[in-house]
């Protein structure tokens, strides 16, 4: 047994250390400090471009920070370690406290202290009623308190009262709800997914048939991109309204949708999709995140064949929607890969919904398509589409230009319906403008649980901060020989068991009710220490 003792002591000390408030405090601090780099440094999850720019700006520091997980703080192991430790410490503290609270709920209020004058709140008076009557009156006054009557050996009657048990209940609810919140959050990130897709607002459709339908897809760990709840949306049109200053006022997309049940019947339902007004379907929510323009180019090839390209260009200035992009064409009727590599076309450059030319330089004056124009380069040659490298929908493959396989054959500004002619007789016409919307689809199976626990956190917090646990004692004893017969000395004591703030007023009220209801006037409070409005 002697050998075991240090082990037991070590375990006990570890347990105490882990569950002590000081440890919890330090871990809370670490959580706050650890979260800060997540707000101050660019994060992969929020803005990968800013991260790579940070890498360019700080070539020495960035790799170190990257290695330490500072660009994905909230997915890093050290951040997880902090909050897991915190929650372990929380559980270890909560379990014994719950047991203790259950015991307290069954316990009777403690016996009246011998010397009530030593309590923070104290009164003493002589009344005409008998001790039993005085205690009965106090019982009536203290309705809602937990009470216990006792008779002391000296014959004095006492009443112990305690109230405010809801404080600890609120405390426990608060902390358990925090645990529930974390678990629900984790379930959401495991089984949820988020995907973005750009859809042209010309009757084009988006169907949630799998990860491949998205431009970018962020699945939870347990989501493989198949088995998504199927639904389709059709974007009929999109409208934006602006103030004359260019400040946007409203974005609204007129859409139809088919939920899972409608897919068989082919039934479409109309909906107005707007910012702050997502479409909520059975298994997923659809959001309107952004919008932009897809300039339409019609290319007439030398043999008279026409091809029309409508590809979304991305806004480079959100205020004026000046956009950039690349619209790519294969020559019609060419199947030979070698020939194809000679004659592919790309139109790349800038699009302005309301053109403002400074000399030859195109910029945009307003986000609405009032006077659309493009400033384009036309490139001919090998686009590199079959090179096996990943291709951006918004850019041409720069390496093809560098290697000379893709060459610029024209550069010109075009207003709507203007055209340019290439040396080989090909005609490129800026033939129209289509809007696109970017949609986000989100699925989180646990978010109602998160809300429930968040509300419990709030409710528990409210209880634990507003309810005061306090005790009240009365001792009524027959007055001494120098008083007339039948008089009773009443002593009152009060003690707030938790953070003070305000028990004094309540104590004063109760004391006044108990002591002035009798026919005789109460004695003055015993000394200055009698009733300060402060307690512990």
């Amino acid at each position: 047994m002697d050998r075991l003792q240090p082990v037991v002591a070590f375990l006990r000390n570890t347990w105490r250390g882990l569950t002590s408030m000081r440890t919890a405090l330090v871990l809370l601090f670490l959580l706050a400090v650890g979260a800060l780099p997540g707000a101050l440094l660019p994060q992969y999850s929020l803005n990968p471009e800013l991260v790579s720019q940070y890498h360019d700006d700080h070539p020495w520091l960035a790799p170190v920070l990257d290695r330490l997980g500072f660009f994905e703080v909230f997915a890093s192991s050290w951040f997880a370690a902090v909050y897991l430790l915190l929650f372990i410490s929380l559980v270890c503290g909560l379990v014994p406290r719950t047991g203790e609270y259950a015991k307290q709920l069954r316990a009777v209020p403690v016996a009246t202290p011998r010397n009530l004058a030593r309590l923070p709140h104290h009164r003493r008076a002589t009344v005409d009623s008998s001790p039993a009557e005085a205690v009965d009156a106090a019982r009536r006054r203290l309705r809602g308190w937990r009470l216990r009557r006792r008779t002391e050996p000296s014959g004095a009657r006492t009443l112990s009262a305690e109230r405010g048990y809801a404080r600890e209940a609120g405390n426990l609810v608060f902390h358990f709800a925090l645990l529930g919140l974390l678990v629900s959050f984790a379930i959401g990130t495991l089984f949820g997914y988020e995907g973005q897709s750009i859809v042209k607002a010309d009757g084009s459709q988006f169907c949630n048939s799998g990860a491949f339908a998205y431009d970018s897809f962020t699945p939870g760990t347990m989501v493989d991109g198949t088995g998504l709840s199927p639904f389709c949306v059709r974007i009929n049109s999109f409208a934006a309204t602006y103030l004359p200053s260019g400040q946007p006022q409203q974005y609204r997309a007129d859409i139809d949708y088919q939920d899972t049940d409608d897919l068989a019947s082919g039934q479409w339902h109309p909906y107005q999709l707007a910012v702050n007004e997502p479409l909520r379907l059975d298994g997923a929510r659809v959001y309107l995140l952004g919008h932009g323009y897809a300039p339409e180019f019609t290319v007439t090839f030398p043999d008279g064949q026409q091809r029309t390209g409508v590809v979304q260009w991305r806004p480079v200035d959100q205020a004026t929607l000046l956009s950039e992009g690349a619209t790519k064409f294969d020559p019609p009727g060419v199947t030979d890969p070698a020939q194809l590599r000679e004659r592919q076309l790309a139109i790349t450059g800038l699009f302005a919904p309301t053109a403002a030319f400074r000399g030859e330089l195109l910029s945009s004056a307003f986000p609405q398509p009032l006077a659309p124009a493009v400033a384009i380069d036309v490139l001919k040659g090998n686009l590199g589409i079959n090179s096996g490298r990943g291709q951006s929908i918004f850019e041409i493959d720069g390496s093809m230009v560098e290697s000379g396989q893709l060459q610029r054959v024209a550069r010109q500004n075009l207003r709507l319906d203007e055209q340019l002619r290439l040396d080989d007789g090909t005609v490129v016409r800026f033939s129209g403008v289509t809007r696109w919307v970017s949609l986000q689809v989100s699925h989180d199976p646990a978010q109602l649980w998160v809300l429930t626990f968040a509300l419990l956190v709030l409710g528990g917090l409210g209880l634990s901060l507003s309810v005061k646990r306090r005790r009240f004692w009365i001792r009524a004893a027959p007055a001494g020989p120098d008083e007339p017969d039948g008089r009773t000395v009443i002593e009152l004591g009060g003690l707030a068991r938790t953070e003070a703030a305000g028990y004094g007023e309540e104590f004063d009220r109760i004391a006044a009710d108990l002591l002035t209801s009798g026919p005789s006037a109460p004695l003055a409070p015993a000394g200055t220490a009698g009733t300060s409005s402060e307690g512990r």
Binding site: G38, F185, L243
Partner: protein
């Protein structure tokens, strides 16, 4: 709904009027603070056995003194009256702004900062009314509450100023009335808490050194109310504000779910709001932990306030995030 330029003009005029009135009130309070004799010598407060009991009870002035108010007291009373007037004009400026733009008057950084300041001043006046017995001692602190208010309002009226305009689509939701209101109220009340904790630390240091020596620092501290009162003021304001802040963060998450497709995305503003929440949670826990009450807890409260200010300015203006709207 079009903006009413006349109402917007009067709204701005009221804003600058309120700013000037606050400034005058602050100067008057400073005069009062400098002119008064030490109401509660540091050494006396230290002597009190339980320390906590001091505060309220000992600070009520004897009834006789009321008849002959000193000049400094009269100055202080004028300053409080001016503060009330300024708060009324300030409230009018927000109401006019709201009417002019046909929406809640906290739709951009200028209005939001202004709303926070109004809440802080109103919270301060409520403290004065509710703590009537301690009011004479507390009243002198008005200048310290008005100082950050004046600084914030000055920044709001210059750097952050924005013309009255309708809301941008991302903000156009009934949640702006709930979420931003809750956050403004919590921030304003926490400002009062932060000021109290700062003054508490100053006073505590003076009490620890026994109030000896006539250094400017100790003369300054001697005019502050007892540390127990300051500590309790900080605690009670924080206890009021913390659940409101929690509510603000939760409603923010609910709004984010409707607007951005997820209730929590570690956007910088969300993250720092959580950090502030955790710091204030630390404060409340510290108050219940042996060895952490008093100065350490007060430092944590100050840290919490620093995080709030950081979140208000640095995150919105310097760090690009979803909460950065229309330039600011």
């Amino acid at each position: 709904m079009p903006v009413d330029p006349v109402l917007a003009f009067y709204g701005d005029a009221a804003f600058y009027t309120a700013l000037v009135l606050y400034l005058v009130a602050m100067v008057l309070q400073t005069v009062e603070y400098a002119a008064q004799r030490s109401a509660e010598p540091v050494a006396a407060a230290v002597g009190g056995g339980d320390g906590v009991g001091g505060g309220v009870a000992t600070l009520a002035p004897p009834a006789g003194e009321r008849a002959a108010r000193s000049r400094s007291e009269r100055t202080g009373r004028v300053a409080v009256s001016l503060t009330v007037l300024a708060a009324a004009v300030h409230a009018a400026s927000l109401v006019l702004r709201g009417l002019a733009a046909g929406r809640v008057p906290w739709g951009n950084m200028y209005e939001f900062t202004s709303a926070i300041c109004l809440v802080a001043v109103v919270a301060w006046l409520v403290v004065l009314v509710r703590q009537r017995e301690a009011a004479p001692a507390l009243r002198r602190l008005g200048g310290f509450v008005l100082l950050p208010v004046v600084v914030l309002l000055f920044l709001a009226g210059t750097v952050l100023y924005a013309e009255a305009a309708p809301l941008i689509p991302a903000l156009n939701s009934y949640w702006i009335a709930i979420h931003v209101f809750a956050v403004s109220v919590a921030s304003g009340v926490l400002l009062v808490a932060g000021v109290s904790s700062a003054l508490y630390l100053v006073r505590l240091r003076a009490e620890a050194s026994g109030g000896e020596g006539g250094s400017p620092g100790s003369r300054f501290a001697a005019r502050l109310p007892g540390s127990a009162l300051l500590d309790r003021l900080a605690y009670r304001t924080t206890v009021v504000a913390f659940p409101i802040w929690t509510f603000g963060v939760i409603t923010g998450a609910i709004w984010a779910e409707a607007a951005w497709g997820r209730y929590w995305g570690w956007d910088p503003k969300e993250t720092v709001a959580l950090v502030a929440w955790v710091v204030y949670a630390c404060y409340l826990h510290a108050r219940a932990t042996a060895g952490w009450r008093g100065a350490r807890a007060a430092w944590i409260n100050l840290l919490g306030f620093a995080v709030m200010v950081f979140n208000l300015f640095f995150i919105n203006i310097v760090v690009a995030g979803l909460h950065s709207y229309a330039g600011v």
